[in-house]
Symmetry: C2
Subunit: 112 residues, 2 copies
DNA sequence: AATATATACATAAGATTTTTATGTATGTAA
DNA sequence: TTACATACATAAAAATCTTATGTATATATT
């Protein structure tokens, strides 16, 4: 990531969402996909991404499958069953966060 | 703040927004106001709030006015001119963030 | 009278997440 | 042969937050 501080805390949600729609993806692919989908608005850094993937794997949310393409290493990640549940949770959390923030931003908060 | 990690990075935006609608507020009042507006969803902790207010003051975004009410100390904060500009920036960043995340969440991201 | 809760400030230690800086290695374009 | 893209990785530092603690006054409860 390298952006508005608001992106802090969103990385896991983004990864899981992408994996819920693409049944397997590798790290570099995720960075490129996010850059494309957000028109360059959001750039995930490797220093944030790889540790996050490792943690998700360690937590049993993702499983990995190492392959070699063009003599180059690739680690494909996919959601486990637990990962699918976790994705739903993270997405509903995001929805709730957005609603809460919209409420704060849109409301007149002046005292009566 | 509270539970969902998504709130990380949002505190400054929330403070500034509240102060843009209430011309002066003190710390404790901000915590109560946010709790009420979010129906308990978001609880700003003192350990996060006070350092944030101090930083905003040091940055010239807020100015402080110390008073005594019922023999108890109160530090009222209000936006400076710089703070008003900063508020507009933070709010448009939030709007942009929400749009970006909505795009990520709602779009089908599968490869063609 | 004593205790708990609310009001009101503050800071320090630790946890978590991210940026920035590096490092390795291969393939391709200039 | 130099630069850029692909593809992984980690470590130091920065940023932000939680948890814990501290001070002090006012009010409500037991």
């Amino acid at each position: 990531m390298s952006n508005s501080k608001l992106y802090k805390g969103s990385l896991i949600t983004i990864i899981l969402k992408l994996l819920s729609e693409n049944d397997k993806m590798y790290g570099y692919e995720i960075t490129q996909k996010v850059k494309a989908l957000t028109k360059g608005e959001l750039n995930i850094t490797e220093g944030a991404l790889y540790p996050a993937l490792h943690k998700l794997e360690a937590d049993g949310v993702l499983e990995v499958e190492v392959t070699k393409v063009d003599n180059r290493l690739r680690k494909y990640y996919k959601l486990t069953e637990k990962g699918t549940t976790e994705t739903a949770n993270k997405l509903s959390e995001l929805q709730k966060y957005i609603e809460t923030m919209q409420a704060l931003v849109n409301s007149k908060t002046r005292l009566a």
